[in-house]
């Protein structure tokens, strides 16, 4: 993250239910805002996919800055990417939403697909998981999203860093080019500074999993995220 700049005035985050819980329980985002004494804009949503995280960052970031009367350089943006097996599709009104459940972003026509929709027997989820999703493709998408979002946020002028909700396995034997992504990701863009540390720093990884669930977000914020945020040392 860039340094020698004024303290940020706004914390903007995006992610899935680990960032914006279904029941209003404070997540790492609220703890971080509290520790940094910054107002918080939480763009996250339960059951969000990385597709949604990228899309809504691009479509809502400028709006939130206007709402809070801040410039990009005043913003600290933290994304927490989620499981790569999720996606979202836009559902035309004529086609209708196939599920009775509350849909993520049904207001703008995008609808989430994840393991929960497969368990519910949704045709869209069956099409996705039976014919289109593969662990390797999902992982490439996650890494590519990290590269592209990092470049977009750099261009925006905001300070930013990306974390992971879940660690991921690297099947390099299946896709040798995966190694290449480690060289495409700017170390300043990810928590930990290199992809191995990034995975080790995931919210649901290792040590943090041994912490009681109710305290995990606070523990992770104080022991994993904050020490790695340059802004916290300023």
């Amino acid at each position: 993250m860039s340094q020698a700049r004024a303290r940020p005035r706004l914390l903007v985050v995006n992610g899935c239910e680990h960032t914006c819980s279904d029941d209003g329980t404070p997540t790492w985002a609220a703890h971080l805002a509290d520790r940094l004494a910054l107002p918080l804009v939480n763009l996250g949503a339960p059951r969000a996919s990385n597709h949604r995280i990228v899309r809504t960052t691009l479509t809502r970031f400028a709006h939130e800055m206007r709402q809070h009367d801040v410039e990009p350089r005043d913003v600290l943006f933290v994304a927490m990417l989620t499981s790569p097996d999720r996606t979202e599709v836009r559902v035309a009104p004529s086609r209708g939403l196939l599920s009775g459940r509350r849909e993520v972003d049904a207001g703008d026509g995008w609808s989430a697909i994840g393991p929960w929709s497969a368990h519910a027997g949704e045709a869209r989820a069956a099409a996705w998981y039976d014919h289109l999703y593969h662990e390797v493709g999902g992982l490439v998408s996650l890494l590519l999203d990290t590269v592209l979002l990092g470049a977009w946020l750099d261009r925006s002028g905001a300070r930013h860093v990306t974390a992971l909700a879940h660690p991921y396995h690297v099947p390099t034997e299946a896709y040798p080019a995966l190694d290449m992504y480690a060289r495409r990701i700017d170390p300043r863009w990810i928590v930990g500074g290199d992809v191995d540390s990034w995975r080790a720093c995931a919210l649901m990884q290792g040590t943090s999993q041994s912490v009681h669930a109710a305290d995990r977000h606070k523990w992770w914020t104080d022991n994993v995220l904050l020490p790695r945020l340059e802004i916290a040392r300023a």
Partner: protein, 240 residues
């Protein structure tokens, strides 16, 4: 600005030179490379989706620079976007080679033609998941993201499109993306994506292969009469 030392392009069959007897000399990237007197790396693939164009650009452009010993600032990159209703996915096995290409790992294409060919993934996509407006939103999102990455990478670049893809869709719906797109990065501006795509600019020429691809005369016309003058006008290539 000095002449670029390497041309790297990406796109679909229109950039690859499908149905050309000698795509290495008559497809628009080859014609452009010859006019500029620089080598060409063509990352295009027939049936490519815009997803594939973004992925393979990020994966391959830095390596292309390294292999040619050229700094990013000396590279001219041009992407010719494809139709937004195509996708790609990673299958359990490679796609059978087509048009003499090497397989790209297990990446497989999804497009309307896949339904006619009985491709299960294409059928599943179009039957259950595809949406025209969603495709166009994904396209604009991809263009903004690739633009950002190319700026970060530090090469000169231009983005254009093969087809006019908006149809009856109101472009105002995508203003949140359009205002992020930088006019000077797009051949004839952002609106050039749907007002001046390759196929519109060469529509009056009658050369066309049985598969519908425009042939050598159209590619030469597009390069000499449209793309090259624009590149020179914008300073991406040296004036003649």
């Amino acid at each position: 600005m000095a002449q670029p030392q390497l041309l790297v392009v990406n796109g679909d069959s229109n950039t690859w030179g499908a149905e050309h007897a000698e795509p290495r000399t008559t497809a628009w990237p080859s014609v452009l490379g010859a006019r500029l007197g620089i080598p060409v790396v063509n990352l295009a693939s027939p049936g490519s989706s815009n997803q594939r164009i973004v992925r393979t650009t990020v994966e391959s452009l830095p390596d292309a620079c390294d292999q040619h010993g050229v700094a990013p600032g000396d590279v001219l990159f041009i992407a010719m976007w494809s139709l937004p209703n195509r996708r790609e996915y990673w299958g359990s096995t490679p796609e059978p080679a087509h048009d003499g290409e090497s397989p790209d790992g297990n990446w497989r294409r999804i497009g309307p033609w896949g339904i006619e060919l009985g491709w299960v993934a294409s059928t599943a996509w179009f039957e259950h998941l595809q949406d025209d407006r969603g495709d166009i939103e994904d396209f604009f999102c991809a263009s903004v993201l690739l633009e950002s990455w190319l700026e970060w990478f530090g090469c000169r670049f231009a983005l254009c499109s093969a087809y006019g893809f908006l149809g009856d869709v109101r472009r105002e719906q995508f203003d949140v993306y359009l205002i992020q797109m930088r006019e000077e990065r797009y051949f004839r501006g952002v609106q050039g994506l749907w007002r001046s795509p390759f196929h519109v600019l060469v529509k009056h020429l009658r050369d066309r292969g049985p598969g519908g691809h425009k042939l050598a005369e159209s590619h030469r016309h597009f390069t000499d009469e449209h793309l090259l003058p624009w590149l020179r006008h914008t300073g991406l290539a040296e004036p003649s």
